[in-house]
């Protein structure tokens, strides 16, 4: 079967893939999004747009991805189940396909309480695993969750996220397996700082044969400052930032910390490439999209393969 997207093509050709993401604006003017995405063009195989991340209302991922498509980028639309019921979710999946968006990332989403509309009803009609199944059913069986047939099936490469560092640790691999069973074809993980722990997780993943059934892209977020390192270590749920990295960042004066953050990211990328089963990286350089071209170049991951044919 022909790959649905450029990203799928890259992964299936066993080229080490690079994806990144853009955060959309908290407003109707997409120019900041366009600016960020143009920085990434040529350095990544596909670009994710987050979907009301941390429950903060932003320009929706679907519209943002349509804009990215117009720029010639392979977009990954992120869909959370927090904000939409199955009617809207399936409708949006059809919409994404109709707009030529060929990668879909299925997530549950951060709880409403973290965002700027804490009084909103948290929908969670489906969870991320059920959404994966629904997306696959629509694509492969041409029917809705209820079984009602579609007049034409959507086309997309289906993905999910996994956090190797959240609890319960050993159950995470079982959960990954469940997602693969449900329809996940690629996985983008939470950003990796603790290489050893990630190696252990990958070992378990390989033991279950999952590396042959799903393409795993390891998340990488370059640290901008010691403050950021500290914050991520202490305050972000499901994140494992080794003390040693925080020390490395803190031991330098503020003006040198960014460069050190880049160094650390490059070390992590290099280590990740050595791990069997890791098929690519997902660079999440939040509000630091300019870092991506430098990272990709210095990691010797350029040039990126050019898109073949009509996507």
């Amino acid at each position: 079967m022909r790959p649905f997207s450029h990203l799928q093509q890259v992964l299936e050709s066993r080229t080490f893939a690079v994806t990144s993401e853009c955060g959309p604006p908290k407003g109707a003017d997409p120019s900041s999004l366009v600016r960020k995405a143009s920085l990434l063009k040529g350095y990544v195989d596909a670009v994710n747009v987050t979907d009301n991340q941390t429950a903060v209302v932003r320009l929706c991922s679907l519209a943002s991805c349509a804009i990215l498509r117009q720029m010639g980028l392979d977009a990954v639309v992120q869909i959370t189940t927090r904000d939409r019921n199955r009617i809207a979710l399936q409708s949006d999946l059809l919409g994404a396909s109709a707009l030529g968006i060929r990668n879909v990332l299925c997530l549950s989403g951060d709880h409403v309480c973290f965002g700027n509309e804490p009084g909103a009803m948290a929908v969670f009609d489906l969870d991320s695993v059920q959404l994966l199944e629904v997306a696959r059913k629509m694509r492969d069986q041409g029917s809705l969750c209820s079984g009602d047939p579609l007049t034409s099936p959507p086309k997309f490469f289906i993905g999910a996220v996994e956090n190797p560092f959240a609890d319960p640790m050993d159950f995470r691999v079982k959960r990954l397996e469940k997602k693969v069973k449900a329809g996940a074809q690629f996985i983008q993980t939470q950003c990796v700082y603790n290489i050893q722990r990630f190696r252990e997780w990958m070992e378990r993943v390989r033991d279950r044969g999952l590396d042959e059934r799903v393409h795993i892209l390891a998340g990488v977020t370059p640290l901008k400052s010691a403050k950021m390192a500290h914050y991520m270590r202490e305050k972000v749920a499901g994140m494992d930032v080794p003390e040693e990295l925080v020390r490395r960042m803190s031991s330098l004066p503020a003006k040198d910390q960014r460069a050190e953050g880049m160094e650390i990211a490059l070390e992590i990328i290099e280590a990740l490439r050595e791990i069997p089963g890791v098929r690519g990286i997902h660079l999440m350089a939040v509000e630091w999209e300019e870092a991506v071209p430098e990272l990709v170049t210095r990691a010797k991951l350029t040039p990126r393969p050019s898109p073949q044919g009509e996507i």
Binding site: S108, H111, F114, F124, V129, E133, E177, Q190, A237
Partner: protein
């Protein structure tokens, strides 16, 4: 039980402001158990209202009575001789009780003295925890008797999510991650395989109904001859 908490005193004062006599009606079941609307709480609120009225130079006669259950017509009927003696009724029952009373006495002003909160258990003295959301389709047998719809903040049926940390929910570190508990319990009894298959989407129509839900039992109905 159904739990509830007493409304802020200011709100109650404002509700009874237009009246010179009010009957406080408590309920001896759920709200007595969670210490918000039982006989004791009726006495306390009545005392407060009388003192408050005195301090403000306002006339307020406050009656007190408590029904065994305020959601059952047979018990509510016992209010009949009292209702017309007061300008308003301040019910300290859950929302079900307030409305049941109001239905039996449609001419009366029936005010809610409590904010009804959730279905739960008394974990220990002074601590009530939500554990059921009345989804209409109990699935506890699949989840080691820990309800993911109620106790997982995202009601995941294929959890946990990526935010579970140290067995705690990302939303509130005081709240245990329900999925962590489910996994641990199933692991302990050797039944983790229950989580291998994808749990399909819930039929929420059983939870939301078409408007208010009802149960009807012919075998329980009484026919008047």
């Amino acid at each position: 039980m159904i739990t509830a908490v007493r409304k802020p005193f200011d709100e109650i004062r404002e509700m009874v402001a237009p009246y010179e006599s009010v009957l406080l009606v408590g309920c001896g079941t759920c709200v007595a158990e969670c210490a918000s609307g039982g006989e004791k709480e009726v006495a306390i609120l009545a005392s407060q209202l009388r003192m408050d009225a005195s301090l403000r130079g306002k006339r307020l006669e406050v009656g007190e009575t408590t029904l065994d259950r305020q959601c059952v017509y047979e018990f509510i009927d016992r209010l009949s001789p009292l209702v017309e003696k007061y300008q308003a009724i301040l019910s300290l029952a859950c929302g079900a009780g307030v409305q049941a009373v109001s239905e039996i006495f449609p001419e009366a002003i029936v005010l809610p003295g409590l904010d009804t909160t959730f279905l739960g258990q008394t974990r220990e003295a002074g601590l009530w925890i939500e554990n059921c959301r009345g989804c209409g389709s109990c699935k506890l047998q699949w989840f080691a008797s820990i309800c993911p719809i109620t106790r997982c903040a995202k009601r995941l049926l294929n959890g946990p999510c990526g935010g579970s940390r140290g067995g705690r929910c990302e939303v509130d570190p005081e709240v245990p991650c329900a999925w962590n508990m489910i996994v641990e319990r199933l692991r302990k009894v050797g039944r983790l395989e229950l989580l291998e298959d994808v749990y399909p989407p819930c039929d929420w129509s059983l939870a939301q109904g078409r408007g208010p839900r009802k149960i009807q039992r012919e075998d329980q109905a009484i026919e008047t001859v």
